[in-house]
Amino acid sequence: MNPPTSESAAHLITLLASIMLVLQLLLVVQRMLVANIRVFATQSLLLAAIAAVVGYAYHAPHVYVVAVLTLAGKVIFLPWWLERLVRQIKIEQEIDAFVNVPAAMLICGAQTVLAYIVARPITSLERLGNNTLAVAIALMLIGFFLMINRRKAITQVLALLTMENGVMLAAIALTTYGMPLVVEIGIFFDVVVAVMVLGILVFRIRETFASMDVSKLNELKW
Amino acid sequence: MNLDLPALLAQTALLLLMAPLLSGLIKNWKAKLQNRRGPRIWQPYFDVVKFLRKDMVISEHASWIFLVTPYVVFVTALSAGLMVPMITAHAPMSLFGGALALVGLLALGRFFLALGGLDPASAFGGMGSSREMTLSAIAEPAMMLAIFTVAIAAGSTNLSQIVLASHGPHWKFLDPSHALAFAAMFIVLLAETGRIPVDNPATHLELTMIHEAMLLEYSGRYLALIEWGASIKQLVLMSLLANIFFPVGLAADATPAAFGLGLLFLVAKLVLLAGAVVLVETTNAKLRLFRVPDLLSVAFMLGTLALVSTFLF
């Protein structure tokens, strides 16, 4: 049986999850690249915290592993690596979006509502916190939207990573224990490798196109 | 099957001998109506004999098709004639073919005639062939419809059977379908025999010739055969019209008296028809070539109406 839900842990998790969502919205608004990376790092930190809380509250030691991995990978390594990349390729700091901020906010709001609608029938299955699952789905959807809305390659990578955060949050929220450890570790390394591959590509694109604007990648069509 | 050899011979002779007479009669009457004296009724016989005696010039471009054509025209017209009941209801060759074979045989003659027109490399011949084939093609459906009307009523395509069936109690000329079919057939007759308003048999003006244009290179006995064949064809079609639609007086039994009576009736009917043709020819002007289809489409409509009316009544 599941261990009894600790009230305060649940509240804490909900709070942390909500902050993750807020940070996600901040990402949508934020136009500075480095700042974006740091917001992402913070968000990942919150994720690690949630994992730690879960591990503590539910006596699931191996969730600590997830927390540590997240901390090492998504809070420290990837942001560092991405910032280095940003410095290396000397990208302009401005990022132009397709949709202006108010409209983007509206869309994000709608997505959050949708996420709640989708998550509602299954909230009963959540092991912790209210609406953590909804937040996870919202994170994923907004991350997706972010990806569509931004022109710079590196922001798209970042958006992908926030989606990944959403997935991890869902994994923790839904399954309590997280998934089998092999899978967790595998997923983690895959993500890291993915980002590095992306980085290589970003670098090459920057070299070849003298720009980071992916909307200029439109030679292949039909 | 028993071949009635005397009847066969008699009808062949009748066809051969009567055909020029009919042509002569029409020419003569036409002249009379136009206030001319005109040629004698017997003139076509003399023409044929004269042509037969004459020397021939054959185009150096012509091939064997040109030489074969007169025979084909002559023989097909004659064979077609043997399928049509003339004096008795039993045509000698009726077993070998009925209305459809008759149409086919005439078409075969025309096919070769048109080829013969093209053969000597003259522009006139080509023109004549082209027009002849066109007009006959659009006359064909009307003719078929008219034939179908009577064939359906008789339940046979065999001309003798059609005539016999019309002897029966159900037949009456006043039947609208018969009247309409007759009208259609009459128009087709004008077209098929090259009469005004479709073609002018007397013209040799380049632009108006149809039938004559094809014959332009023929001379001597070949011309004789073709002309004779043409007049046989005319006789065949007219007796067809006469006997299918007015099957009166056909010899019922094989007595000389009945035959005589039959012959008399045939001649009378042909004379009447010839009169009608002459009347039409005299009172109308020749149509422009591209007007002819209008006339033939009238014939086609008449044929259709005839069919519809068999259905209605």
């Binding site: 299954i122 992908l160 997935v167 196109f209 030679e219 039909w222 | -």
Partner: protein, 492 residues
Amino acid sequence: MLLISILCVPFVVGLLCLFARPHALMEALNIAGFASVLILGVKLFKTVLTNNGNAVTQWNEFLRADALSAWMVLLIAIVSLATSLYAVRYFRRDLANGTVTERGFREYYVLTPLFATGMLLVVLANNLGVMWIAVEATALSSVLLVALYNRKTSLEAAWKYVMLGGVGLVLALFGTIFTYAAAIGKTGGEMPSFNWSRLLAMAPQLDHHLITLAFIFVLVGYGTKAGLAPMHTWLPDAHSEAPSPTSAMLSGVSLKIAIYALVRFHILVTACLHSSFSSNLLIGFGLFSMLLAGPFILVQQNLKRMLAYSSLEHVGLIFVAVGMNAPLTVFGALLHMGYHALTKPVLFFAAGNIQQRFHTLDFQRIGSGLVRTMPVTALLLGLATVAVSGLPPFGLFVSELTVLAGSFTSNYAWASVVILISLIVVFCGVLNKMAGLLLGPSNGAHARETISLSNIAAMSLPLGTLLVFTVWLPDCLRQLMELAGNIIRGLP
């Protein structure tokens, strides 16, 4: 041991190539590696058959091979082998031209075995999470292959491939987690297994809402990898810009791996929901893919892009066939997977020859009359075109007709009309383009092609296999496919 060795052989080959110096050694390693995978694959398939259809498992069911997996292993092996044969000549020539750098050359020979390893792991892994990881691994290894030429366009293609693929995979991961979550609390307190076989065994107890949600995410996610419209947009770019051997792998098997993953979920969902929810979705997306492929092929200007769209159409057909869930359609789908895997590489190989000769893939710039300038390539390309258009004497005719016939035994007879229409439209486009390419006067200036024996062998091997298996389908293969079909249809 068998399963592990199947996985290890290509993996080790990849690692060895990292350190091997001589070109010939790398090539030989690749060929030998894939040849042994093929042999092992045949062995696996025999084992599965002798096991009476029971799955071969290893490492406490971590690796599991049932008939479906065995079938996929065979496909992967044969396509990889043909590709490695073809690659020899291709990359030597590229290297001589300077089209590809020494580093790129090595990259290819290292990454391709890893790519294959990933695909093999997908089909052999029992754990759905591991399966996801493996799919991700195939994506990552192939991205660099797509970008191998380092041209502007190939970078663009790689970027689109990795971004769209990445998004797809995140969604697929979401779905995978939901699937796992659906099992929690149904196992009586134990931690539920993430193994597909276990999940299937307890399928009816799984949470319906979560499974529905999971399938949606998995469908969009793996559907992106499988090239289901409208998530297929990366496909023509990646397939056309990759080096031809990679295109062949991508089109020949990589797509089918994603199909495989999706089908595993489809089996689970159907077993759980007892409804045609997933079937309907598969059919809907499959038909849409088929219909969408047509217009693009009709007005296509690039040879390899046309081939890619043709793959889109075939993927759609496979999905529709699986979705219809009748014995014949599923059998036809498996058959189709096999035949298509044997056909597409040949087309891409031929396209590779053409590209190396004319340095373009644009139909207009290649011109016409390939039968004169490149007779051997043209002949093989022509035969493969006939095959891919679904005409006898090649197998795709049989498989397509099987699917169509099967649709009339299911409730989806109407779908066959759509299938036929799209097949005809695609055929019109392919025929028009190919006739213009192959036939006609040649523009003279070119000398006759020089073509090596290995090139011919690489191209005739799949085509010959296809022809052999069309006129003679061994009983054992048929049994294997029937077993696999039963698995897909959720029968014991």
